[in-house]
């Protein structure tokens, strides 16, 4: 997960190390920040912001600041998971609930800040929809970073959930601004998987993703995956069923790294 700090004007930060990146979150009373611990994948700003020609981050902050004062329509400034150009986000409850939470905050006589109440109603929702309070709960920053959510650690539980809900894994492509998620159960084999991934990332690729199983020479990129031990493996070596059960994440690697993989 990439941490994208929301930067404040005039903020100086020390050279980024992993730990310092975590400290880049701060908020104060008059400028309303939405502090996201788990950041959203890098996304394109909503069409309104792009057309206005303002860098999206500043637009979000200014709009958010004014929206707090006006209590106005917050959807324009919502950071959400939806693809650019889509109106309804893929996780429908999240933006509207957050909007209403902000309205609640107006009544609170304490200083305005990011949502301090998590969304109890939708505990099953995507984590990225929830805003975090700075410094709460009071745990050290290394403790926030070190532990993946339980369902990754417990393989039995993860598999049980996967059985029920479809096997969604993240797909990243080097150089693409955002990631995608696909359900591996939908595909019957490697060929279908590659075709689906081609379609998904068509807008980003200059060349073609290899169409053969395994990595053919002369292709510009290769599909790799991260297995349950955390190792990076080339897609296509093991039977499909085994692949599905051990794949945790997919990654399309580009040119120069691919050569290294093939030694």
């Amino acid at each position: 997960m990439v941490v994208t700090p929301v930067r404040h004007l005039g903020d100086r930060r020390p050279a980024c190390t992993k730990a310092f990146a975590q400290r880049a979150f701060s908020y104060h009373r008059f400028c309303f920040h939405v502090s996201l611990y788990i950041s959203l994948p890098r996304f394109l700003p909503p069409p309104q912001a792009r057309s206005a020609g303002i860098p999206s981050i500043w637009h979000t902050m200014e709009a958010a600041a004014s929206s707090v004062k006006d209590g106005g329509d917050l959807r324009d400034t919502e950071l959400r998971l939806g693809l650019p150009g889509t109106e309804a986000p893929e996780k429908p409850a999240a933006p509207s609930t957050r909007g209403s939470k902000r309205a609640l905050q107006e009544d609170d006589d304490m200083e305005s800040r990011a949502n301090s109440r998590p969304l109890e109603a939708d505990s099953g929702e995507a984590p990225a929809a929830k805003a975090q309070i700075v410094g709460w709960p009071p745990i050290r920053s290394y403790r926030r970073n070190s532990f993946p959510p339980r369902k990754v650690e417990s393989e039995a539980e993860a598999e049980a959930e996967a059985e029920a809900a479809g096997l969604y894994v993240k797909v990243s492509m080097d150089g693409a601004p955002y990631l995608r998620k696909i359900d591996l159960k939908v595909y019957k084999g490697y060929k279908e998987l590659r075709e689906a991934m081609d379609n998904m990332f068509k807008c980003f690729t200059q060349g073609e993703v290899s169409r053969k199983e395994g990595c053919s020479s002369g292709s510009e990129s290769a599909i790799t995956y991260e297995d349950k031990d955390g190792d990076l493996m080339l897609v296509g070596d093991v039977p499909w069923e085994m692949f599905i059960s051990s794949c945790r994440r997919l990654r399309i690697m580009k040119g120069c790294e691919v050569r290294g993989l093939r030694t």
């Binding site: 310092f20 701060s26 104060h28 301090s116 009071p138 745990i139 403790r143 031990d229």
Partner: protein, 580 residues
């Protein structure tokens, strides 16, 4: 009174020095120093240990001048809330001023313990060069240094006994710093490198361990693979305190049996920590040490309840247990049944942001522990729900609590059964536990709880408050009561100017007060600073706009840090901090 205290001269100074050497507590030595000039002189020349709770409370040169024969110093820097990213990174707490003064005035210094300070590599090099008999370096929650600084320490401190790096942020730019310990170096007793992120050269470490026969404590970092860990530990069966590295790997029967025999060889092991990412595969290999353990730190082990339960319930002699909430209520009930000698329990959240499905760790676990573990006196507990009834039960079961820190993860959470605030529960705690020295509050709380705390918590020294209270009255109750309060830290509470100004003199009896996201205005800070010249009133504001002088009195203060000092306003304030 006889003028001049003639009887003090009846004995030579050395006799008094010897008498004073039996006074362990600094408070007692301070009292002795106030009796007469002779005792003041004798005491200051014979004081060997100095503890500075706030590095800005006294000028380094003054401290060094007053106690010229110090051998061990402990200094703390940033406020506690710096651990949770509430203090700007450039706030201060730099160690240079202290290290330079100590290098000049205390050449015989042997022990240095720094907590929450910014220590640069230059500082470490100065430490390494300046103190000939340097033996103990302990850095806790510090930052600003790298492994290059550690290399300097390793190379130059010939008599180093302890190197304790606990939860620091260390930049890794010198991969082989361990190899800087010379071949002739054999005095190591304790090595804790758990916070280092980079790989450590295992063969060099093995050589080091083999030639240090007095090594008792070895805490390794996460990066070392299990096989290497095993071969390392085999060389030091005399260890009393072990912190392992990553405890997960694919199952290999050979590795399992090697691990088993290595741990079976530890005849004196009392303390175990590390166990990063432990899976059920390898944990059974170390069952043999469970009986002898008195301290177990599993707070990095993401192992689930059944295996965790099996492991912990074998540890019958456990006095300190740090564990993740993956232990669940069942696990804690089992602990309450097996670990009758338990004194300290810390339960950390595995999933603080509520991403995964919730764990069944509730108030029942803590109630069971309070009932079963009669010697329990220190608790840190993260959970998601609590009731007044549970807190009452805990208070009745364990009036011997000295430290009670409860963190209900959602702010403003009421009693989930009655929907009432948790005032009654926490009041019961402070009323029943007469020796309570440290308390952290959470959940939905009104001013009533502060009234109880102010009235009953007579031994309380440190209080942490977040998202609580209705009005200024809450703060007033605390500041007008709590006779022994030393540190008060408050965030996100509606406490304002009146309580602060009405109790200004109380602040000089305390080490420090932190208030962030409360309702204090700049005008009150200015008044307070005028009224109390021996307080530093620091206003922290990260917007870096116009200077403080131009802001109006009703300007709301975001973060406020007030501490008593005899050194006056400090000279190293960054742009975001103003001493009013």
């Amino acid at each position: 009174m006889v003028r001049g205290f003639g009887w003090a001269a009846a004995f030579p100074d050395e006799v008094w020095e010897h008498v004073f050497s039996f006074l362990a507590a600094d408070a007692d030595r301070n009292a002795v120093a106030l009796v007469c000039r002779a005792w003041h002189r004798i005491e200051r020349r014979s004081r060997r240990r100095v503890f500075v709770g706030n590095c800005y409370a006294v000028a380094p040169a003054a401290a060094v001048r007053r106690f010229p024969e110090v051998r061990a110093a402990a200094i703390k820097g940033k406020p506690h809330f710096a651990d949770f990213n509430l203090v700007p990174t450039d706030w201060g707490g730099g160690a240079e001023a202290w290290v330079e003064a100590m290098a000049e005035g205390w050449p015989h210094l042997e022990e240095l313990r720094l907590k929450r300070m910014v220590v640069s590599d230059d500082c470490l090099e100065l430490i390494a060069r300046s103190f000939k008999n340097f033996g103990v370096l302990s850095l806790v929650s510090c930052d600003g240094f790298s492994t290059a600084g550690l290399a300097a320490i390793a190379a130059n401190c010939r008599n180093l006994r302890e190197l304790d790096l606990h939860e620091n942020e260390v930049e890794d730019n010198c991969l082989n710093w361990i190899s800087h310990f010379p071949e002739s170096f054999t005095s190591l007793v304790s090595l804790n490198i758990a916070c280092l992120e980079g790989d450590v050269n295992t063969s060099v470490l093995e050589c080091l361990i083999s030639r240090c026969p007095n090594l008792k404590t070895l805490r390794l970092n996460h990066a070392m693979p299990l096989e290497k860990l095993v071969s390392l530990l085999q060389r030091a069966p005399q260890l009393v305190d072990v912190g392992t590295s990553k405890f997960s790997a694919d199952h290999h029967p050979e590795l399992f049996s090697k691990l088993e025999s290595t741990f079976a060889g530890f005849k004196h092991l009392k303390s175990l920590s590390g166990i990063w990412e432990a899976g059920p595969t390898y944990l059974p290999a170390i069952y043999s040490v469970c009986e002898s353990l008195t301290s177990l730190n599993l707070c990095y082990a993401t192992i689930q309840s059944p295996e965790l339960l099996k492991f912990v319930s074998r540890c019958k002699n456990l006095q300190r247990l740090w564990v993740m909430d993956l232990i669940e209520d069942n696990g804690l009930i089992a602990v309450a049944a097996s670990c009758k000698l338990l004194q300290e329990l810390r339960v950390f959240p595995s999933d603080p942001y509520g991403v995964a499905p919730p764990i069944s760790l509730t108030e029942h676990g803590l109630v069971a522990i309070s009932a079963g573990c009669l010697m329990l006196h220190s608790v840190l507990y993260f959970c998601r729900q609590m009731t007044n009834a549970a807190l009452l039960t805990i208070a009745n079961n364990r009036p011997n609590l000295t430290c009670f820190r409860l963190c209900i993860i959602e702010p403003h959470t009421p009693d989930y059964i009655s929907q009432e605030p948790l005032d009654a529960g926490f009041s019961a705690i402070v009323e029943s536990c007469k020796d309570l020295r440290r308390l952290s509050l959470s959940g939905l709380l009104t001013d009533r709880v502060f009234k109880s705390i102010g009235a009953s918590a007579n031994r309380l020294e440190m209080l942490s408050v977040a998202f609580a209270g209705d009005s200024d009255a809450g703060l007033h109750y605390i500041l007008s009561g709590c006779k022994n309060l030393r540190k008060l830290e408050i965030r996100d509470c509606p406490f304002g100017d009146k309580a602060l100004l009405d109790n200004a003199s109380k602040l000089e009896t305390m080490r420090s007060l932190w208030m962030s996201s409360c309702s204090v205005t700049l005008g009150a800070c200015r008044q307070l600073a005028l009224k109390m010249p021996r307080l530093n009133v620091e206003v922290i504001d990260e917007r870096r706009g116009r200077p403080l002088e131009s802001w109006p009195d009703d300007f709301p203060v975001e973060k406020l840090y007030i501490y008593r000092t005899v050194a006056g306003p400090r000279s190293d304030t960054p742009p975001c901090v103003w001493t009013v």
